[in-house]
Assembly symmetry: C2
Homo-oligomer: 196 residues x 2
Amino acid sequence: MSITHTCPDHFTPVPLEKCYRLMNHGPTVLVSARHGGEDDVMAAAWACVLDYGAAPKVTVVLDKATRTRELVEASGRFALQLPCVAQAGLTVAVGTHSAKDMPDKLARLKVPMFAAQGDDLPLVQGCVGWLICRLLPEPHHQHTYDLFIGQVEAAWADERVFSQGRWHFDTAPDDLRTIHHVAGGQFIVAGASVQG
Amino acid sequence: MSITHTCPDHFTPVPLEKCYRLMNHGPTVLVSARHGGEDDVMAAAWACVLDYGAAPKVTVVLDKATRTRELVEASGRFALQLPCVAQAGLTVAVGTHSAKDMPDKLARLKVPMFAAQGDDLPLVQGCVGWLICRLLPEPHHQHTYDLFIGQVEAAWADERVFSQGRWHFDTAPDDLRTIHHVAGGQFIVAGASVQG
């Protein structure tokens, strides 16, 4: 599948030492991967920051039934990206249908893809944050718990809603808020900001 | 430290197969543990569901500098609980001060504790969800990544805001919404519900 290298508007680099702040508040993610010319994207509610600083890391749970997991294991790379309110339906769709049953899943579901300059990982347009990760192989945990660890190599955000290391949900369009899956396609939307 | 076994009002059991829904939307948690008569509570933004069903599991990252981690390692048990808006200040306080520097931390910070009937794990009053976990020892991941895995043995929620396996933020008092840490004491509050 050929993918445009034209990045979406507002696609802005996030310094590595700040990228944990994209995921610190627990959003649901889309996981994408590419291997052998094949792309896939799935949804995952079970993704989490594992470390910050100069070598930020994330965890994500990838079920053995998913094609995306096989692409991650084969390529050793994946991207996590944060869908927003406008993409709630898309998130349910890519999380419900498997490329194993629907080989043309991304085309059928009209998932708009792009790639960053100098990279070939498929990224989803319209998200509000993106993290490209290198798999840190941990076979025991992958096999026993379906738990995958990635070291973040690059990150971006939609500058309208995340800049200077902070989310700006209160001032950005509401459609750009992150979504946090509960169950059965119901999401909690990121709300107001409070200082503790 | 003696702890009351009088449970807070609205403290209601959550069936194990539904307990993942307490954490699925990515809230910040308070981690508590007890060993040798010593209790501690810390805050953790990096906690996540690992598995659901009859043997639900969670992950939580516990820094080596924390006393709570030592109590977890010594006792093999811990609790995760979900602070709400009303507890944002308390969450920052228990996440900032260490029992290593402040031995009477829980008393000094006036953290209101209780324990469930038949159990001695210290739980925090005023939270909106509680999960008691048995540590599944994984020394490599604990040492290398500070990553701890727990199997949930019992769970409860404040029935005003979580019942029938769902959050009811839209109808419950706003102070009972979960909080999701970004950085520096700033939290995103759980907002509206949308269906994808």
